[in-house]
Symmetry: C2
Subunit: 438 residues, 2 copies
């Protein structure tokens, strides 16, 4: 590899957002030389693979609704029309909410906005919930432990039937294979981008450039094997974006935290099997992807594997840091035991005694408004801050990035939906704060 290789575009990160961006950029600029780089051995092996890989269009902000609804419809198109299996299963999403939560202004606004946007959802009351899910404990009156744990009763269920789960590896493969069909340049793996190359524009070839009075732009990336140059560097680096932007003095406005998934097997556990076989929500005849009323605990049914993935939306108490999956080999079993399991088994006693058979952790990239950033500045096209919903927004974010690259005022999302290309930028951001974050 020469120290002065040069491309039109370098894409850093072959997670789901990176491969989707690669695909749309190449598709709409077939003449451009695009190099896709990733530090892992394959596409989609870092934080994309660590995700709960659930997809929902049930957001409160119209921006997130549009990003996810169009992306999900595209995934359905790929699976149903093109016939490429993404293992997209419409289990639905079920928010369990206390009376106080349900009647809160933010939830009422959320439902109003979904109604306005035509996002399918249903409300179940406690009686209906109990009938549909006999294994759900809806009564914490006389339960001192539940009170001590600040657990709120499940009084309502807010259900969305157009939501579900998919296989992130299949989704990454879809974009990656389509990209490879139209790209002449072999993507490179096991390449770690150590830093971005920020240079004066124009360069004067004086020592110590760039000076403060020079225009500056990112002109490439540094790897241990040398510099690779490009007119535009695309950062699809999710939770480790700050590691590349901070050193050149650009503020991503995002922060990252570690998030866990624990795998439980249901076999031989009647309470868990009964849950897996819950009827009435969807054609899948299983319990939906379910968010408990308290502590941020949620689960994803694994219909084929007969089990569950359990996760938890960490808030205050979990440190922000730069996040790399390889550093996360420690699965923190105490976190399951002390924090997640007590909540889970209180709402669903069928989980009593369930211990993880596996677990992993990845990096979650927070934006302050829980809406992603997609913007072009100083030679860098940044896609980050998906706030736990990168998979379900990947298609829309990638199309917006492509529109920005081509200098378009509007991006066209799947289904011919239009969105101003600067909507997710830092400087001309025009979004509502998202209130429905997991």
């Amino acid at each position: 590899m020469s120290a002065e290789e040069s491309f039109d575009i370098i894409i850093v990160g072959a997670g789901v957002i990176g491969v989707a961006a690669a695909y749309y950029l190449q598709k709409n600029s077939p003449e451009k030389k695009i190099l896709l780089l990733d530090r892992m051995a394959m596409a989609g092996q870092a934080n994309t693979a660590m995700s709960a890989a659930a997809v929902r269009n049930m957001f409160a902000s119209s921006t997130n609704q549009m990003l996810t609804d169009t992306s999900i419809k595209y995934f359905e198109h790929v699976q149903n029309d093109i016939g490429y299996e993404l293992l997209f299963e419409k289990t639905g999403y079920l928010w369990l909410l206390s009376e106080t939560q349900f009647k809160h202004e933010s939830v009422q606004n959320w439902m109003k906005r979904m109604k306005k946007s035509g996002i399918h959802h249903e409300v179940y009351d406690k009686k209906q919930l109990k009938e549909m899910i006999p294994g759900l404990n809806v009564d914490f009156s006389d339960d001192e432990e539940a009170e001590l744990m600040n657990l709120q009763e499940a009084d309502y269920g807010l259900f969305g039937g157009d939501c579900g789960v998919l296989d992130p590896t299949r989704l990454v493969e879809w974009y990656f294979e389509e990209f490879k069909k139209i790209c002449d340049i072999k993507p490179r793996f096991n390449v770690n981008v150590e830093s971005l190359l920020l240079e004066a524009d124009p360069k004067l070839d004086l020592p110590g450039e760039p000076y403060v009075w020079q225009k500056k732009r990112v002109t490439g990336v540094k790897t241990k094997d040398g510099i690779i140059r490009a007119d535009v560097v695309v950062l699809a680096t999710g939770a480790w974006t700050n590691e590349l932007l901070d050193p050149i003095g650009m503020d991503s406005r995002t922060k990252a935290k570690k998030r866990h998934i624990y795998v439980l097997h249901a076999e031989g556990k009647p309470g868990m099997e009964e849950l897996l076989d819950t009827k009435g929500f969807s054609d899948m005849n299983t319990i939906p992807f379910t968010i408990l009323p308290s502590a941020g605990v949620y689960f994803r049914p694994q219909v084929q594997e007969r089990g569950f993935w359990i996760g938890c939306g960490d808030k205050v108490g979990r440190r922000y840091d730069y996040i790399q999956p390889p550093e996360y080999d420690n699965p923190e079993s105490a976190y399951y035991e002390n924090s997640v399991y007590p909540v889970l088994s209180k709402y669903f006693p069928g989980f009593e005694g369930a211990r993880p058979v596996g677990s992993w952790a990845g990096g979650y990239s927070y934006s302050p408004d829980a809406i992603p950033f997609v913007y072009y500045d100083c030679g860098v096209l940044v896609l980050t801050g998906a706030s736990g919903s990168g998979i379900m927004k990947a298609d829309a974010m990638a199309r917006i990035a492509d529109a920005l690259y081509r200098g378009e005022d509007e991006a066209e999302l799947f289904g011919e939906k239009k969105i101003p290309a600067q909507t997710l930028s830092q400087k001309e951001r025009k979004v509502e704060v998202e209130s429905v974050v997991i």
Copy 2:
């Protein structure tokens, strides 16, 4: 020192914002036990002492106008009515602007908003500027170097006469001495707060607390000598706020960069002496605090010391990091030589050949909208992100923090100006983005 000392309030940081907060908190809650801590040997010795210590009310956002205008009027009150010398000198502020900059929407809006708010300012054209400041080079036509350096000509001067410079050490001493008069507890210096103590509320005394289902709050600070507890911890930690908030998973939404000041002596340099003796702007008979049209370079006249402080507003190219003044002993002489000096001497040839006789660097805390944050969350009262104007906003920020502490809906700033106490918060923030940042 006991490992279980306890106070009503601990204030971390005895910079100008910390001592001002200490003063108003104690004044309005005389019964509360307040402990002021600082890692340095004295108050105001960290980033406050590293500042250019200039004060202006010439902002574009009504919020910043109000924060600075009331603070400056308070400083005048202290100096003129109370008779406590702050060395506040109304040199004025002078923005040199190119025709393009002057006519730009953002500058026109800035002037309109200042007019509306009654903030005194004047516009000088090129001819007037040249008459008042013979040493100003207003003609770069035929100057290839200036073109190469992207330098824009000084076509207009935007001058504010109610702005000036003061002595940050005197200002810190004012608040600190007043605080000590009404506080029974001796402030402690040379105490480094290593981390914030985040605990479950209530505590169950189980191993590994706090768990995800527990309410959490900051209940104190950890130092090398042990834990000190308080009902409320006030962070007046400016550029190193992330070092304390990131580990407990709270996002300050600010980032910090290193900023330099270089000291030049004018004696024996006729061009610089002439500048120092500039008539017509103020009773001080000196050149105002002056911001050049390009590259962010500015200078502060030092009337008594017969010299200048030179600074530069770093943008892309200067890394974001956690900032501690002691780590900044390296003054980066190449930065002066290559970045600052070429710009300075191009606009003001009287600086030709001028070399620094001293220099220092400090941490500059950026907020995304260039408006400070003051908010209370989880037991922490945070004052940060002053974006280069902490000294000129200290009085207002401290009064807002005190109102939040007392649970007031409104804060009363100097001159009986009212502001909603949540204006600068994260959750109920209600501010315009500030466009006039140095």
